[in-house]
Symmetry: C2
Subunit: 449 residues, 2 copies
Amino acid sequence: MKTKILLKESEMPTHWYNVIADMPNPPTPPLGPDGNPVGPDALAAIFPEELIKQEMSGERWIKIPDEVREVLRLWRPSPLYRAHRLEKMLNTPAKIFYKNESVSPAGSHKPNTAVAQAYYNKQAGIKKLTTETGAGQWGCSIALAGQMFGLDVEVFMVNISYGQKPYRRTMMRTWGAQVHASPTNLTESGRSILAKDPNSEGSLGIAISEAVEIAASRPDTNYALGSVLNHVLLHQTIIGEEAKKQLAMVGEYPDMIFAPCGGGSNFGGIAFPFFADKAAGKKIDLVAVEPTSCPTLTKGTYAYDFGDAIGLTPLMKMYTLGHDFMPPGIHAGGLRYHGDSALISQLYNEGLLSAIAVPQTETFEAGILFAKSEGIVPAPESTHAIAATIREARRCAETGEAKTLLFNLSGHGHFDMTSYDRYFAGELEDYDYPEEAIKESLAHLPKVG
Amino acid sequence: MKTKILLKESEMPTHWYNVIADMPNPPTPPLGPDGNPVGPDALAAIFPEELIKQEMSGERWIKIPDEVREVLRLWRPSPLYRAHRLEKMLNTPAKIFYKNESVSPAGSHKPNTAVAQAYYNKQAGIKKLTTETGAGQWGCSIALAGQMFGLDVEVFMVNISYGQKPYRRTMMRTWGAQVHASPTNLTESGRSILAKDPNSEGSLGIAISEAVEIAASRPDTNYALGSVLNHVLLHQTIIGEEAKKQLAMVGEYPDMIFAPCGGGSNFGGIAFPFFADKAAGKKIDLVAVEPTSCPTLTKGTYAYDFGDAIGLTPLMKMYTLGHDFMPPGIHAGGLRYHGDSALISQLYNEGLLSAIAVPQTETFEAGILFAKSEGIVPAPESTHAIAATIREARRCAETGEAKTLLFNLSGHGHFDMTSYDRYFAGELEDYDYPEEAIKESLAHLPKVG
């Protein structure tokens, strides 16, 4: 029985899928400080024209440039796996499939959009990209992509991850990037945070503020975001498109899809191409999995809020814990984000997507079970999807249901071994739902209009 | 133009290739302390019968058990890459191909034999395996393989690597193995080394002594070796067999093959299946690449010597720097071995294989050039093959020759980023050829008979 379902390079998707074309309602617009919708011009200081077009587009299919596919084929199409050994270990009648996005040189799904963004910026004559990174997967991805197209890259890495994941810094450097621990004193945003807390652990929100501030102030420099925005999720839909083809090759279609959800590119990437079927009447459950310590969809509020911690970005209507919510220092750094993609938030609000939250130790238990059965040691972000899949597979073992489950193995854990080490040492905590902190940060939601 | 040349799971080789069948002379036998050839019985204390049979076999093809192929297909067949971007960066007319063995869950080619060894030991009723590891690639591989077949695993990790590569320890632990920094005070061998030098950096030779000592003293425990022995090289020939098929798919045949060479399983694995053609008259240059700091083939002596540092193993006729030679603490831990495979040594002595030595900084330069062009950050061991390939590709750029070059990308460098860090900091040394140390250790070669 086959373990890996492979596509040929010639079968790599030629177009990205734009979920906006199949949404029941038009997407909520980003708003400026005046409460009016933000036009393309407001974004032109930090993004190239082609990406702004994609951000606003309602076209169902958008062509992937040949130059982008040329780089993606260094690791794409990525393999789809049938998790025979995990199924056996769980003694479940469920069929478990996973899309293995850990095969990229940066070790996660993030280069799918990094390569596209670097390409469009290069075409627009940009010399340098700034960005933020949490666990370092996005920073590595943009460092790799910048190198592939000859762009300089400057990365603001969340302070707690900078300490926890020193090897990621060196990897970014190997691809030629410059890396700072954020907050830094290189920006106004960083200095304002450090003034309040000189030992700040940082957050994705703060790092975004720093990277945006620098990009906005230099004409030859643009900003690249690793998640949240429409064009980022668009570039990730290659994952779900491939998975759909691969499942069809073995005559399968998933009943449920699980993916980690921080800013949403991981989940949107695998789930959106299946949402197209759901919109057409197909029964499928698309489940975003988040940490209980940063429960944006499951415990947040659907409201207009800033994308960053300081308030430099336009307001987006999204599930949010408040832009100044500071998530606990959990080991899935990529999921420590106060908000969520506006597209995912809207569809979730309309009841078309599901979400669950999983505590930290359960995710590591799941990751180790996965490593012991399937071999691959997963990233802490990915273990969220694994934990949710295992819950469902165990449920199936009780009920006897032979459901087909698909999850996104978004990355490997090779740079997260200190986190595993701490798990083994019994040092990982399951943070309680930070009710008071969320209440306080939600009180700071911006007034619209 | 294709980047990856892929085989289907159904095209995975069904047999290993045994080079002994095509050698012009029978292999030199291992000798006991009395100078007489060692029979199968002498090995039975630490190896299962099937592996001893393979060690002695002259059959050309040996069937790969279905249970072994079932585990190998978690990552095999591995992709063959055409290095379009590296070629372009070097502006060379040479065609460069590489076999990507970094795709295994342990990140190197080592699981190819670890899985086979775990299987045969399990079949023989063994409960536990002991082993040594340098950079940790072998230790991870046997931890993974042990887990796949339900065997306990105890790993003696060379002290310098134990410090340099802490993440590998955690990875072994994730797969359920126990790991010690060698030399330990758990064995006579370890204690004798520590008595002389309490801060010993350790070596593969010492770690082997420790693992063998424990396996020999317990009936339910066997020993697993990651390189050097005939059966280990046999299991790695799946690499070269696949590569040959993959090159044929694009109408190519290599003029030269490069692989790192420590104990020889990396080089033997990719080169031996092509040696079969060479023995039949085909022109091909098979090049073992070693570090200048541990130049076994290029500066050693062809003589009977122990495989370990203490003198517990049978004597093998091989190129050696002397069993008590202590190589400098270079970052390619897997290549810090005083000896070499008897099969490779014999063929090299007969002029049928080539060897070159490359200094440490050149290998890191090559590794970074590879990461910047092809994306993948290579293991320090693998950078030896890359450096040699780049030398040849640059030579081709001067002469205009359009040679076809193949190298073995034996592993990724995700657990070696501290080494890259030290390279960037200018802290890596190119050790002079350690002439005096080698002269001294060669003076201790055992007398035979």
